[in-house]
């Protein structure tokens, strides 16, 4: 048992980029396909690398187990704590696949030359968008009325809670300034914003007039408003963006990319694949971008400039 424990520990420590917290349990040894010795690295960004590793590990193993024909024998998970580090990993070639929301993916594609290949249906949806709402009795009629007022976003890394609505407002010419205090005095030409860090907080902050407006995932808006939806008014709906995106590093073997695509696209048809998908943040399937990735991510790439600073932190 001690020898097996040491072997497992060594396997984890040998995984490059996988930053385990001391309290995380030792992961199982990665699946190995007989004969193949190549390694496929799957990357993600999270401030909780242990949990992220556990989430991604079965997916990476499954993927590697299906890629023996292209020389892949092992799957590896690389968790970075920032997009900048992920960009570096992609550039170094230590991460082969990166899966995240559209803005982070757009960021790494822009910085590391990565290429989006597939959509990921996360939590049952292929696309999502944000709504920016105010109290119906607030007197705010349009986004322009946000000047001199405070708007509440969700978490700083949330696509629909922050990046997408912020980028949408900024692209309309509004100047958004981050404040800590929702009660702070805002310059008339500025749109102040605070992070509520929670969609429910955002909803109540608007309802309780703590902030003038809020932005939440459109999918959750009605549920959050509930019986008080009549008290609210949606000022803006953002464009729909893919729910999650898979991209590959620049320079990855096209044959491997093709093989990865085939495996991912067929994963929901395989019972084992469906089981892995279910534990992989309730992923329904992977599919190709309708109309191509450029069509789906084009707007995101345009908006990236407005949130690039947030992503690059």
């Amino acid at each position: 048992m001690a020898r097996l424990g040491l072997a497992l520990l060594a396997a984890v420590l040998l995984a490059p980029g996988c930053q385990q917290t001391p309290n995380e349990p030792a992961p199982k040894e990665p699946a190995r396909t007989s004969g193949a010795t190549g390694v496929l690295s799957v990357g993600s960004v999270s401030l909780n690398p242990g949990r992220e590793y556990q989430t991604f590990r079965p997916f990476a193993d499954y993927l590697a187990s299906r890629l023996g024909e292209v020389g892949i024998g092992n799957g590896r998970v690389v968790v970075a704590d920032s997009l900048s580090k992920m960009v570096a990993d992609l550039q170094r070639g230590s991460v082969d696949l990166f899966i995240d929301s559209p803005f982070p993916v757009a960021f790494v594609c822009d910085r590391a030359g990565s290429r989006p290949i597939l959509r990921r249906w996360k939590r049952g949806s292929d696309v999502y968008h944000s709504v920016i709402f105010v109290r119906a009795d607030s007197g705010i009629a349009s986004a322009d009325d946000f000047r001199g007022r405070i708007i509440a976003f969700g978490e700083p890394f949330s696509t629909t809670g922050y990046l997408l609505p912020k980028a949408a407002l900024a692209s309309s010419g509004l100047r958004l300034v981050n404040y800590e205090d929702p009660a702070a005095t805002i310059q008339p030409d500025h749109v102040g914003y605070v992070f509520s860090n929670d969609a429910e907080n955002t909803m109540f902050w608007v309802l309780k007039k703590k902030v003038a407006a809020g932005a939440v995932n459109a999918d959750y808006f009605e549920a959050l408003a509930g019986s008080r939806i009549e008290e609210l008014r949606i000022i803006h709906r953002t464009e729909e963006v893919p729910r999650n995106v898979v991209c590959v590093r620049d320079g990855l073997d096209p044959e491997l990319i093709r093989a990865v695509e085939e495996v991912l696209l067929a994963m929901d048809e395989d019972p084992q694949g469906r089981s892995v998908l279910s534990g992989f943040e309730q992923t329904a399937r992977f599919d190709r971008f309708p109309g191509g990735s450029a069509d789906q991510l084009g707007r995101v790439m345009e908006l990236l400039a407005y949130v690039e600073e947030d992503l690059g932190r």
Binding site: D198, G226, S227
Partner: protein, 584 residues
């Protein structure tokens, strides 16, 4: 089913323990119920207060996510059914779940009013649910509140668990109490059982061991008292055993008859003779065993009129319907003062005697028919010869005929005596009683014996008379007695002597005295004088001329006549026989 002392005591202890346990359990459950309810209520209040305290800042800052976290932790608490945080308008912020279906729903109006009116706890009960509302105030104004719905169903579970535990403990105590009671009872009843066993052994007549006196309490006293009782009883029993052995050994039958005529006890001889075991005889009417004419009444009458009676001849009715002749003695047996008199019957089996008597009768009958008849003919013929009917006999022939005649006479007397003795023994001799003068009878006897005396040269003299003496008697039998006495006196008197006869009055009796001057009766022979075939000795040839039955017959006749016969004798002086008769 009848419970013994042990069973009753154990049942009592068990019932008491169970009853006590039930009452105790009920009280304990009730007390625990109150205590648990109070604890639950206090716990719910405290929990709600803590939640409110933790939620105050979040509520002030509208940090619903933090409220959700706080409530989510509360939901993990036992018995918490629901936890919500609500605003000052009574609308729910969060119920602690991500889905938060309660979001924006209004709480009750009473709770809302309470919340804006006071920061005190509001506690409500509905069935097994306690609702605690804690308003959250800050800076003197209500921010909202938290409401906790707390299940008291756990109380019922706790009560049930408590009842089970208490019942289990009660059951254990009941079992222990029953065991203790059983052991205690065993300790008490074991000596009692020993006493019971010993008493039963005593009742069966078996050997009884000395009981161990283990304690000095009442049970010990009982054992000691029993030992003392058995010791004393043993002393009595020893003598009784001896009596029993005697009764069991004796050949005679012994029957104890109760006052009501039922058989109380019999000895082994009765069982052997009747062919019935003791338990088949005891309790039966004595009439079924003793064949008296009127059964038990005959015995009572025999006893009551004469006191103890002996020599009753009756029959014992045996198993196969046969009857065994018995000679019975009956005696009243005194019992305790409060019990009527019982009777003791001792019976001897007369079967053998009857058989012998029967043989005697047959023998006598044979003698009578086969001997006496021919002898009479012989005697008659010899008399005729001696009388010259057949012609004059020569001296030598005459002498021989006379010898034959005398011997035939003697043989006739012998046969007559034998027949008479047998008749007397069998009670078959006829007595024709009548009033008669004594003196003529005495004179007839003297006259009849005088020829016989002449042969021995002995003179018979009537010396003294009582004139007019009347007696009730069978004259022939009295003459037979007197003749016999006189013949004896003649035979034992020396030649030339005189036998003196005198009649005298002795109070109410008349006495005939016959005095001879013979050698006297030897001392050692005097007790045998009146027995059959009694002889003084072989030396005196004259003895052989007697049959040896005469004196026996005489006494038997005198007894039948109500008189007596006895003698006085002095060696070398003579003998006097007395014949006494009651004067009529």
């Amino acid at each position: 089913m009848r419970l013994g002392l042990k069973g009753r005591f154990v049942a009592f202890v068990m019932a008491t323990t169970v009853a006590f346990g039930v009452v105790l359990t009920a009280l304990a459950v009730r007390t625990q119920n109150d205590r648990l309810r109070h604890e639950l209520v206090e716990r719910g209040k405290l929990l709600t207060t803590v939640i409110a305290a933790n939620a105050t800042d979040a509520m002030a800052l509208l940090e619903v996510r933090e409220l959700r976290r706080v409530l989510a932790e509360v939901l993990d608490q036992e018995n918490v059914l629901e936890a919500v945080a609500f605003d000052e308008d009574g609308r729910v912020y969060t119920d602690g779940t991500l889905e938060n279906p309660s979001r924006h729903t209004p709480i009750g109006e009473a709770e809302r009013r309470h919340t804006i009116a006071s920061d005190a706890l509001l506690v409500e009960f509905s069935g097994d649910v306690m609702t605690v509302t804690r308003p959250v105030w800050l800076g003197g104004r209500p921010l909202g509140g938290v409401r906790l719905r707390y299940s008291l169903a756990g109380l019922a579970r706790d009560q049930a668990a408590l009842a089970r535990r208490t019942a289990m403990v009660g059951a254990i105590f009941t079992v222990l109490a029953v065991l203790a009671a059983a052991l205690l009872t065993e300790a008490v009843t074991r000596p009692l059982k020993e006493v019971i066993r010993a008493t039963r052994s005593l009742a069966r007549g078996e050997a009884v061991p000395t009981l161990r006196v283990r304690t000095s309490d009442e049970v010990g006293e009982l054992a000691a008292a029993f030992n003392e009782m058995t010791r004393r009883l043993r002393e009595t029993t020893v003598s009784r055993d001896a009596v029993d052995r005697v009764l069991g050994t004796m050949g005679e039958c012994l029957i104890v008859i109760g006052p009501d005529g039922t058989i109380d006890r019999v000895n082994k001889a009765v069982c052997k003779l009747s062919g019935l075991p003791e338990d088949k005889l005891v309790g039966r009417p004595c009439d079924e065993l003793i064949g008296t004419p009127e059964g038990f009444r005959s015995l009572i009458d025999a006893v009551s009129s004469e006191g103890p009676v002996h020599g009753l001849e009756t029959e014992l009715l045996v198993k196969d319907g046969a009857a065994v002749p018995m000679l019975v003695s009956v005696a009243p047996m005194a019992q305790s003062s409060d019990r009527p008199q019982a009777f003791v019957v001792v019976a001897s089996d007369l079967s053998e005697r009857v058989r012998i008597e029967s043989q005697k009768d047959e023998f006598v009958a044979m003698i009578h028919h086969e001997v006496r008849g021919p002898l009479t003919a012989v005697h008659g013929a010899l008399g005729l010869l001696a009388g010259g009917v057949a012609g004059e006999l020569g001296d030598r022939a005459r002498g021989l005929v006379e010898i034959a005649l005398r011997n035939s006479e003697r043989m006739e007397r012998l046969v007559d005596d034998l027949l008479a003795a047998r008749k007397l023994d069998a009670g078959k001799m006829d007595f024709r009683m009548e009033d008669a003068d004594l003196m003529p009878l005495v004179e007839q006897a003297i006259e009849a014996t005088s020829p016989y005396g002449a042969k021995f040269e002995v003179l018979l003299v009537l010396d003294e008379r009582v004139e007019g003496a009347r007696i009730r008697v069978d004259p022939d039998r009295l003459i037979q007695v007197l003749t016999n006495v006189l013949s004896n006196a003649v035979r034992f008197s020396p030649a030339g002597e005189t036998v003196t006869v005198s009649v005298t009055r002795r109070e109410k009796n008349l006495r005939v005295s016959v005095v001879d001057r013979g050698p006297g009766i030897p001392e050692e022979f005097r007790d045998q004088v009146f027995e059959k075939f009694a002889r003084a000795g072989p030396d005196d040839w004259r003895h052989q001329s007697g049959t040896g039955l005469g004196m026996s017959i005489s006494r038997a006749i005198m007894e039948e006549l109500g008189g007596d016969i006895f003698f006085e004798s002095e060696m070398d002086v003579g003998t006097t026989f007395f014949v006494d008769l009651p004067e009529a």
